[in-house]
Amino acid sequence: MIRLEKRPTPSRMWTALTPLVAVLATLVAGGLMFAALGKDPFEALRTIFYDPLFNAQFAAYSRPQLLVKAGPLILIAIGLSMGFRAGIWNIGAEGQYIIGALAGGAVGLAFYPSDSVLIFPLMVIAGALGGWGWAMIPAILKTRFNTNEILVSLLLVYVAEQLLASMSLGLLRNPQGGGFPGSRNFQQYEAASNPELFAGTGMHWGVVAAFIAVIAAYVMLTRHLLGFQIRLTGAAPRAARFAGVIPTRLIVTCLGISGALAGLAGLFEVTGPAGQISIDFNSNYGFTAIIVAFLGRLHPVGILLAGLLMALTYIGGELAQFMLGLPAAAIQAFQGMLLFFLLAVDVLTNFRVRLIKREVA
């Protein structure tokens, strides 16, 4: 008979190992899924994980994409991980990401066709404020009216999506776009664009911001009082209150940080890789970032690695779609599976598995 025995403290070894075990298990299960779809599983896995980086034919295009896709994922996931650690569940990052893009983009478009160097910094600030403001709705409803932040932040994603549709069809539509939906293209509006900083690397300001966020989060969690309060609240909410943590303030801070970072990610995406505000510029980064945060064990360095891995599944998925006709949804299911396996093997971190012989009474 198998029994689980609670460990006094989480195992450090398993904390580090579980993401690897989960990735391996997902590769096996994913291979089976691809086989069930009638594709050669080894070829599919090679196309997703190996070819984008090392195949001479595709790597030139795919490698820069790695940073392009990982940037927003890491930036959003870093913000989310703060709240998740403290038991504050912001799952509406997708909405904050959209609003950040709208707010920042609108500021830039308002000054068209200015060429002042101040435009882009101003847009960045507006983007962060947009995301922050959108996240303040669940934060204030939670602290003032005790409303569940999970449901409110998520429902606001649908509201943000409608707002995005309304804006790209109406207020922010390109007046010279011949009636097509979508805003002006930021790539042709130099003062407001977020170009590749070094040719062929995929590095843009969003990726820079993501790296800064990783370092800042690491310093904050290990060296700053706020980081201590977050970790303490996650580990023992009652003890945290005795230690002087004000729950209301922590909720507002955590949701605010994650909202602002998601808003930034949205702004960098819309001015860079996406190019314009359009109905479907958002590519579910806000939801995938949840998986990234968990896969990275809510740790900044872990999130950096997890973000790169998840970006690889996006790129490899596109490649597999193109080369093998693997449906796009398969990758989404694959990413979901990864989270399942991660949660499943996580039991090993907190519990010891004991085999017990049934005693005869």
Binding site: N146, T147, N148, L151, L156, A165, Q332, M337, L339, A344
Partner: protein
């Protein structure tokens, strides 16, 4: 505004409320047992495609609904194993279920985009369905509408009057005490989660087979989350959940009718109204801290690990 008839509005309200009602009543049982399953959206959309696929392949909507219940329940097994046996966090696992369900359903659903499902027959009560006003509003729907109502009554009765219901509620209030009394916490929670999954699956299939009726990716569009909010709105009481479902059914039907009537309000504002109203209602319901805390099952979302 003249184009909107009250009779038609009320009749379509019953239809519009059914998917969220089915999902919400299932989730109510799950939460009463102390489990917070945030995967309702994922189970609904899985039910939507399973039901759609089975109905199209067999030509029978009845088998379709059965398939949907099975599909939803099958997905919920993953949640049950993870949270009950492997002691994972309820919130994270529920989110995983939703993310996986959305991808998985899109994967199965590829061949079914643009296909027309077999139509679900409406019950025919002969003379009764011809009664003016009451007939078309109440008595001329398909069976699932009434199944939803029956399910509400059954859940209410089981929770209130039976021993099983009492044990279920006890487990939801304090799993440690219930375990000490010898009740099978994990087994009963497992069954509650399966029931929730099957109900959500039925709700999803009602969307794809009756309400829309068509399959498109991500077609539930937040219905599962509204169902979760309904449970809070209904203060974990079955009849109030029914009331809430009709309220939201009414809002969504009304906004669609207003869109069609060409009201001078932006379409997007009308489309976001169900979500905004859900948030508003949530705020009102949870504003009173003490009452909200009394209504919610005390062990909701807490992981149970039997030490002895």
């Amino acid at each position: 505004m003249a184009g909107i008839s009250i009779e038609l509005l009320l009749a379509s309200l019953m239809v519009a409320a059914t998917p969220i009602l089915l999902a919400a009543i299932g989730e109510l049982v799950v939460e009463k047992a102390g489990v917070l399953n945030l995967g309702v959206e994922g189970m609904m959309i899985t039910g939507a495609i399973c039901g759609f696929a089975v109905a199209v392949e067999t030509g029978s909507p009845t088998l379709g609904f059965a398939g949907a219940a099975l599909g939803g329940a099958a997905l919920s097994v993953i949640f049950a194993v993870l949270t009950q046996l492997l002691l994972s966090n309820h919130v994270a696992t529920g989110l995983a279920l939703t993310l996986f369900g959305l991808g998985f359903s899109a994967l199965i659903g590829q061949g079914y985009v643009g296909v027309k499902p077999p139509s679900t027959p409406q019950i025919n009560l002969g003379v009764l369905s011809d009664i003016p006003f009451l007939g078309p509003v109440l008595l001329s729907h398909d069976l699932m509408v009434y199944l939803g109502l029956a399910l509400v009554a059954a859940v209410w009765a089981v929770l209130k009057f039976t021993r099983t219901g009492l044990i279920l509620r006890a487990i939801g209030e304090s799993h440690d005490a219930a375990h000490a009394l010898g009740y099978k916490v994990v087994r009963l929670r497992f069954l509650a989660i399966l029931f929730g999954g099957a109900s959500a699956g039925l709700g999803g299939a009602y969307l794809s087979l009756v309400r829309v009726p068509q399959w498109t990716e991500g077609m539930t569009a937040g219905a599962g989350w509204i169902a979760l909010a309904l449970v809070v709105f209904g203060a974990w009481k079955p009849w109030r959940v029914l009331l809430g479902a009709y309220l939201f059914g009414g809002v969504s039907v009304l906004q669609l009718n207003l869109q069609a009537a060409g009201l001078k309000v932006p379409v997007e504002l009308l489309s976001m109204s169900p979500y905004l109203i859900t948030i508003l209602v949530l705020v009102i319901m949870s504003a009173d801290k003490r009452r909200a805390a009394l209504n919610a099952p005390a062990a909701l979302g807490r992981v149970f690990h039997a030490t002895t």
